[in-house]
């Protein structure tokens, strides 16, 4: 891969509302005043040292940052190419994923804005759990919209949110997944925007969300860059992350966007394969379009109706993607590739068995992608005598996915709910 031409200023600090042709604010007029207020308050907060200090303190004393960097040599043997693989351990964050970074940032903003209620959407439940957590911590009323289908897939996270005091609303319209949960959250927001903040969970939606959520997550890449400098004394050769909406990926990519020698890879959910039509691979199977306030890549039919997406991972099961990703794809800075359910689950099992780490199924897509990179790692221009270095964002842990994985591997009998000793040998 050749280094892309970087012009027009640093990529890492690119501000909305547009990322190339993507982004914007395709929402009802009723929301524009709130988006303007949010943008103003966000920029004021960024310029206020007290805000940064409060967030940094929460990261340190509540989230558990900096998250660790773990080398995984036994897993790396399966990657091949002599590569060393490092995991950025967002799975060790409080609430179990990178989602807490953004949620704490936005919740602090909500306090500054004087609003008392937050609403959120969630697919796998990680963002909902993180939002319910921050709401409890900061005494905010909290409603979480979740597709009815997802409430079944992630029953434990629904219970978790309710324990934390949030109201969870199952959404029984449309495809009953994340997309429809966002529609319902937007309807709620239009009606209650004067008292309510929509705590959007990923780098999509109308401006300023893509830029703001990215900024709250860029701590991931900044820490990893410094930790790798200490461990190996240089930049990684490749960075891999899974991409649903794309928040963990933007968080780790951001620090490396302006280092052209670092190859960046985003792995989408290929589901049952792009040719099967049952997938969430927007860059392989989608086209530019508008959904949920942003112009980006979108799974849509010839009329522009949103197509249902599919993934074994509820967190990647979304028909669109953050607009900054669409731009980075267009300018060739990031390579986006689909990973099938089967590949992801194979990588999931491999990490469990080689390193004693149960990843979120979302993150397993990034691990599966890393397994592909070994084949080309030998061709990379690496400093003399050194091994290629691959950094993988382990965006979440697999607690919430244990039931899904157990079913996939035949460890639970769906009929009886009992464990099976005749399942596929891990």
């Amino acid at each position: 891969m050749s280094a892309p031409e970087l012009s027009g200023g640093p990529l890492g600090t690119h501000a909305g509302p547009y990322f190339g042709q993507f982004g914007g604010r395709f929402v009802p007029e009723a929301l524009i005043a709130a988006l303007d207020e949010l943008e103003t308050e966000y920029h004021k907060a960024l310029a206020d040292p007290a805000f940064g200090q409060a967030l940094a303190r929460l990261h340190r004393t509540y989230t558990g940052r900096p998250s660790m960097l773990t080398e995984v040599p036994r897993f790396a043997e399966h990657v091949g190419g002599g590569a060393r693989v490092f995991l950025k351990r967002e799975d060790l964050n409080h609430t179990g994923s990178h989602k807490i970074n953004n949620v704490l940032g936005q919740a602090l903003l909500v306090k500054r804005m004087g609003k008392k209620r937050v609403i959120a959407e969630t697919g796998a439940g990680q963002h909902g759990v993180a939002t319910a957590t921050a709401a409890a911590l900061m005494d905010l009323e909290c409603t979480v919209y979740m597709g009815e289908e997802d409430t079944r897939r992630q029953a434990l996270n629904v219970a978790r949110m309710r324990l934390l005091g949030a109201e969870v609303v199952p959404v029984a319209i449309g495809t009953r997944t994340l997309k429809d949960a966002i529609n319902e959250a937007l309807r709620d927001w239009v009606a209650n925007v004067e008292t309510t903040h929509y705590l959007l969970g990923t780098v999509t939606g109308p401006h300023p969300f893509p830029e703001m959520v990215r900024d709250f997550h860029k701590v991931i890449g900044e820490e990893a860059k410094q930790q790798l400098a200490e461990e190996v004394g240089r930049l990684p050769d490749a960075v891999a992350a899974c991409v649903g909406g794309g928040s963990n990926a933007m968080g780790i990519f951001n620090a490396f966007l302006d280092d052209p020698q670092v190859r960046l890879f985003g792995f989408e959910a290929g589901g049952e394969g792009v040719s099967s039509g049952r997938h969430s691979a927007r860059f392989s199977g989608g086209a530019p379009g508008v959904l949920h306030g942003a112009l980006s890549f979108l799974l849509q039919d010839e009329d522009g109706q949103t197509l249902p997406s599919h993934s074994i991972s509820a967190g990647l099961d979304y028909p669109s993607v953050g607009p900054e990703h669409a731009w980075l794809n267009e300018i060739g800075r990031v390579s986006y590739q689909p990973v099938t359910d089967t590949e992801a689950m194979d990588a999931f099992r491999l990490l469990c068995r080689t390193e004693g780490i149960i990843p979120a199924i979302e993150s397993a897509h990034a691990l599966a992608g890393a397994l592909r990179l070994g084949a080309e790692a030998a061709t990379w221009d690496v400093p003399d005598g050194q091994a290629p270095v691959i950094l993988v964002n382990l965006s979440g842990r697999g607690d919430k996915d244990v039931a899904t994985a157990a079913r996939w591997f035949g460890l639970i009998d769906d009929e009886t709910g009992t464990t099976s000793d005749e399942g596929v040998q891990l």
Partner: protein, 273 residues
């Protein structure tokens, strides 16, 4: 000249000595319960007193719509309705004599091609577009295409719109400005938002020629109230519900829809100006 703007002006001025009045604008989605019957329903509405028709394009993610309309468009999509069905419906409804505006979420137009959509809508005799998720800030290509084809551009204002945004939206709109009576989505409500009259006044002060009010209007007395201060009264869910009743009892034909429309029309015509 703006097709809907001209109609609103003519109604406001009155004719043959009759007093001026506001317009009744009726919304129905194409393809509910099927394409042919939705065309029949729209024509029935015109016959029963609707002055301007708003034909909705069914969309998979209608975030500005409440349950009644969402149910109808889901039904229409499940029945296989396509964007091209909307264009042919526009042609048939326009023959009934009322200007026909198309209400559409923006991705459908983008996918069709903005210029091509403007061309084909104009060719079908459509008056223009109402765009609930397209604000003027994002609409430069639509503004150019609608100028080229002489189509109306109806953008929305909301109770939360600032004076600057009211001015910007008024300047970008043609035909009328759609004032959302309340913060919320479509649906029938007990009362029309108490901020609607002020919003209409503010939008006029910001430069709008015509301002019509939608969201929450479902009964004759509400229509009369809104018609006393706005240039047009937009009704959606109440008419869609009437079509729903007709669908569940086909022996009644389009009678129920005609009845509901006539009540609303009487409300508009009886309003004190």
């Amino acid at each position: 000249m703006s097709p809907t703007g001209s109609r609103l002006t003519a109604l406001a001025e009155g004719a043959d000595g009759s007093p001026g009045r506001a317009a009744l604008i009726g919304y129905l989605p194409v393809g509910y319960p099927d394409v042919a019957r939705s065309v029949e329903a729209a024509r029935t509405m015109v016959g029963a007193g609707v002055d301007i028709v708003e034909l909705g394009v069914p969309y998979s993610d209608p975030v500005m719509d409440g349950p009644t309309i969402q149910h109808a468009v889901e039904h229409a999509l499940a029945g296989g309705v396509k964007v091209r069905d909307v264009l042919s419906s526009v042609e048939q409804v326009a023959e009934a004599g009322a200007p026909v505006l198309v209400m559409t979420y923006w991705n459908l137009v983008m996918r069709y091609g903005i210029e091509a959509f403007a061309r084909d809508l104009a060719a079908a005799g459509g008056a223009g577009l109402i765009t609930p998720d397209l604000i003027p800030d994002e609409a430069s290509r639509w503004i150019a295409a609608s100028d080229e084809h002489g189509l109306d551009r109806v953008f929305l204002v909301a109770p939360s719109s600032t004076p600057e945004r009211l001015a910007r939206t008024a300047a970008a709109s043609r035909g009328f400005v759609y004032a959302a009576s309340t913060m919320g989505v479509t649906g029938e409500r007990a009362t029309v938002g108490d901020r609607a009259a002020q919003l209409v006044a503010d939008t006029r002060s910001a430069g709008a020629g015509h301002v019509c009010v939608g969201l929450g209007v479902s009964r004759a007395e509400q229509a009369a109230e809104v018609a006393s201060y706005a240039d047009g009264v937009i009704v959606g869910s109440a008419l869609v519900r009437a079509v729903q009743e007709v669908e569940s009892d086909p022996t009644r034909g389009m009678d129920r829809l005609a009845e509901v429309t006539a009540e609303l029309a009487a409300g508009v015509r009886g309003a004190r100006r």
